[in-house]
């Protein structure tokens, strides 16, 4: 019988058993360790991934919020500036109106200088005659101006005939008058009242206001600091 093939005695069997058990145990421990190490790695990776994802989202959200806030700020700023501009424009407009209104009430004083006023009437009539170039013209005046007007009509007709070498009949309109609260001036009509020229003081003031508005603005408020183009 060879040494190798001898059956093991009890002690040897026990030893072998212990060795095998230890081996099995050792394998398990190592496997467990591997699993744990891997688990820790995965823990780190997974946690970092989750945090990174969310933090990107958070960043994006706050960037958006910041941008919103800035846009809102710009809008508010723009509104405030607009309001300010409107305030200034309104103020200027009000002052313009005040000037015009006061001028209207000054108009009433014009006829107070009789001599000057008669001259004005004459020229107003003459201006109308030159525009109408008609043979028969009626003149509408205030009741209180009738006498002065007759005088003015004489002079105006004379001028007209001399300048144009044409004849003309100019009469005061007996049926129509300017209202008593009018400041003065004349309305001329011809062709049976179908053509009218309004040369009253009020009408002239309105026209003057329109024509002179740019100049008046500059006179009243100075040049606009923002204007870049001039013709």
């Amino acid at each position: 019988m060879s040494h190798h093939t001898r059956a093991l005695n009890d002690e040897e069997v026990l030893n072998e058993m212990k060795k095998m058990v230890a081996f099995i145990n050792q394998e398990a421990i190592e496997k467990a360790r591997e699993i744990k190490v891997k688990a820790d790695e995965e823990f780190n990776i997974e946690k970092a991934k989750l945090v990174r994802q969310e933090s990107n989202n958070i960043e994006a959200t706050y960037q958006r919020k910041i941008k919103q806030a800035e846009i809102q700020k710009k809008i508010t700023q723009s509104n405030v500036i607009n309001k300010s501009r409107l305030k200034l424009l309104q103020a200027r407009q009000q002052y313009l109106e005040e000037v015009f209104n006061e001028t209207v009430s000054q108009l009433i004083k014009v006829p107070q200088d009789n001599v000057k006023y008669r001259d004005i009437l004459k020229n107003l009539i003459l201006q109308g005659l030159y525009q109408l170039m008609d043979e028969q013209v009626k003149v509408i005046v205030k009741k209180s101006d009738v006498d002065l007007a007759n005088n003015a009509i004489q002079a105006a007709s004379q001028n007209y005939k001399e300048t144009t070498k044409r004849d003309i009949i100019v009469e005061i309109d007996k049926e129509n008058n300017l209202p008593d609260d009018s400041a003065g001036g004349v309305i001329l009509t011809s062709h049976f009242g179908r053509i009218r020229i309004n040369n009253t003081l009020e009408e002239r003031l309105v026209l003057a206001q329109e024509e002179l508005l740019p100049e008046i603005r500059v006179l009243l408020f100075g040049h606009s600091p923002n204007r870049k183009h001039f013709h």
Binding site: D10, V13, M17, M20, V21, I24, N25, A28, I29, K31, A32, R33, I35, K36, K38, A39, F43, N44, K47, L50, V51, E54, S55, I58, Y62, I66, A69, T76, Q77, V80, S84, K87, L88, E98, V99, F100, E102, T103, Q106, L107, V110, I120, N123, L126, Q127, L129, Y130, Q131, M133, N159, T164, K165, R204, A208, E211, L212, I216, L219, L220, F221
Partner: protein, 119 residues
């Protein structure tokens, strides 16, 4: 001999059982770790959010302060301009009225250029 064998096998089977328990524990640890990753990530994320929020609120507070300032400044400027307009008006009103009245009362009658006047 047969009895020894079966005892031996028993011991080995128990060793395997124990081994399996050890590995199972490790697996449970792994599962727990994955859960932990989620909860800890969530915690960190909350902290980040809170921090970002605080930063943002500081930012807003600073800007609100700024815009209050510029708002007040603009108001002051507007009031100054209004006062300037008032002054300009007071100074120039009469000149404008005179200009207008002059335009009304200065009449220059002119014959239309197309009118032919016989010699």
């Amino acid at each position: 001999m047969a009895h020894q064998n079966s005892q031996g096998i028993q011991t080995l089977l128990e060793a395997e059982k124990e081994a399996a328990k050890i590995v199972q524990k490790a697996r449970q640890y792994r599962v727990q770790r994955l859960k932990d990753a989620r909860t800890e990530a969530a915690k960190e994320i909350e902290e980040l959010k809170a921090q970002r929020n605080t930063d943002f609120q500081e930012f807003e507070a600073e800007h609100a302060g700024n815009s209050d300032q510029s708002f007040a400044k603009l108001n002051a400027e507007t009031d100054a301009k209004l006062a300037a307009i008032q002054t300009a008006f007071d100074n120039n009103k009469n000149a404008v009225m005179e200009k207008l009245l002059a335009a009304v009362t200065t009449v220059e009658p002119k014959v239309h250029t197309n009118v032919k006047v016989p010699e």
